[in-house]
């Protein structure tokens, strides 16, 4: 657990796929302590990881955990939520999170149990209790967090959090550093959101995957280059009549070697982009 700015704590996820060895602690998660209350930003990928995060909070403060922000539907960010149930926080999610949980929650839970075995015990879907359609100001006692709901990008239910007092911008999975971005919402939408995000000033950013904090907006350059390359070259592949199953071999191959887990996700990213862009 690293205190990257006053009262802002981040636990660094490992660059692996979920497994019993890592308890699905593969994303950057953490919390922010205010004068009156604590906000968790992503409870982690399993009940075990959520419980460890909660212990880290209790060791540092006796202030109540009032908010658990679920930045998006992906399992490595949300399955720790059940560890915070007894704190009775507001579970904060994007207005489209309930729909995404309905579609995918069961599948994610089964997959988590498959990957983690016994280490998945206690992990559950916790539906959000406070929905954000546009913006939400959370007051932790003289410390304001601005929660923004974004259009389809990494997923169709992405939130970011801006801590005004330290000017720390928690981008969650709208920002991937070192680990290959996963396109599970809209490549066109993500590039649009990214252009708007880059225009926002901050002293540091917290990526969903990557170091615990990075300079902003410079750290977004590789992600933007990857997404732009995939978009441009997928469009070219569609135009050239290359099929959906073959497109990934050539699209953005200049990006191989620049990202961790490239071969695990790139083909799926191109398939998703192809499916989106063939309607244009």
């Amino acid at each position: 657990m690293t205190e990257i700015a006053s009262g802002v704590f981040v636990h660094n996820g490992v660059h692996e796929e979920a497994s019993s060895g890592n308890k699905d602690a593969i994303a950057n998660i953490g919390f922010i302590i205010g004068a009156d209350a604590v906000a968790v930003i992503d409870p982690g990928g399993s009940f075990e990881e959520g419980a460890a995060l909660r212990r880290a909070i209790v060791a540092r403060t006796d202030r109540p955990i009032r908010y658990v922000i679920l930045t998006h539907v992906h399992p490595d960010h949300i399955f720790g939520a059940a560890a915070f149930r007894d704190d009775h926080p507001e579970f904060v999610g994007h207005a489209k999170l309930p729909g995404a949980l309905a579609q995918r929650g069961d599948y994610y839970l089964r997959r988590l149990r498959g990957a983690l075995g016994d280490e998945a015990r206690g992990s559950e879907i916790v539906p959000p209790t406070l929905l954000v359609a546009d913006r939400l100001d959370l007051d932790l006692g003289g410390r304001h967090l601005l929660v923004r709901a974004h259009g389809p990008a990494h997923t169709d239910n992405d939130l970011t959090v801006f801590d005004e007092s330290t000017r720390t911008f928690w981008l969650a999975d709208l920002l991937f550093v070192d680990r290959i971005p996963v396109i599970d919402g809209s490549i066109v939408g993500w590039l649009k959101e990214l252009r708007e995000l880059i225009a926002l000033a901050a002293d540091r950013a917290v990526p969903g995957h990557g170091p615990v904090f990075v300079p902003w907006p410079d750290a977004a350059d590789p992600e933007r280059r990857y997404l732009e390359t995939v978009e441009r070259e997928t469009r070219a592949a569609i135009k050239a009549g290359i099929g959906i199953a073959d497109a990934y071999r050539d699209v953005a191959k200049s990006e191989r070697g620049r990202w961790l887990l490239f071969d695990d996700y790139h083909a799926r990213n191109v398939t998703a982009s192809y499916k989106e862009l063939e309607w244009d």
Binding site: A102, P152, D156, G189, I244, A245, T271, A272, E276, W279
Partner: protein, 279 residues
Amino acid sequence: MGLTRSMLGRAISSLLLLLVVLGGAARAEPSEAERAARWSDLRHAIFGDRVVEDAGDRVAIDAPERAEDAAIVPVTIRVSETLGSEIRGLYLVIDDNPSPLAAHFVLGPLADTKEITTRVRIDDYTYLHAVAETKDGRLYATAQFIKAAGGCSAPAGKDQALALERLGKMKLTLAERLRPDAPINAKLLISHPNNSGLQMDQVSRNYIPADFMQTLEITYNGQSVFRLESDIAISEDPSFSFSFRPSDPGAAGVIKAEILDSSRRHFTQSWPVAAAPQI
């Protein structure tokens, strides 16, 4: 001599029941003998006691050996030139899917049968079988093994708002015709979730209802290119590449797609086709 739709439906229903019963037991990776037995069961459920011959080089399946995304696996069925004009139907069977008969194309007089491509969901490592049915009732089968898993229950819909807004919309792309006597190559995209009914809403504990395309009919100037009877194995946003030969290539025409889905929704769209260029 062919199966009627209701007979086929009954056969598939009883087969589904059988698979559900069998699926209750923990299942190790099936042996080749078990895979062969499954195909034998499927073949009897779909084609009864009719003889199904080995297609040899008459029919081929083109699919990736290992699928990158099991919910979107492109599959092409190819038919040899010699058999081409004799074909009246093509079946695509995904042996280990919960609902194995993925597609039955009933080819019309304008179909150019050389190849048809679609995208399917694949639930487990499985054989795919393509069966061509000739006008005189012969059946020719070919198989290909494919490594993909989880496609049927995989979550759909990356952008659900867009999916709803676009429901039923279609996009047709026609390849440029270089010669008037060449067939017209077309690619049709259909915006439809084609929900499998195998996804559970974890909050309400209800399954999200199946909602899929049941039939697709393609006509050109009122004459049939093909009629498809399909199922949950067709991927979200169904896609089809096919060819057809207008009876009068020198004249302009209209190609039309009509869809009926399991929620009894009906979608239709038409596109003009220019006359073939003069040589």
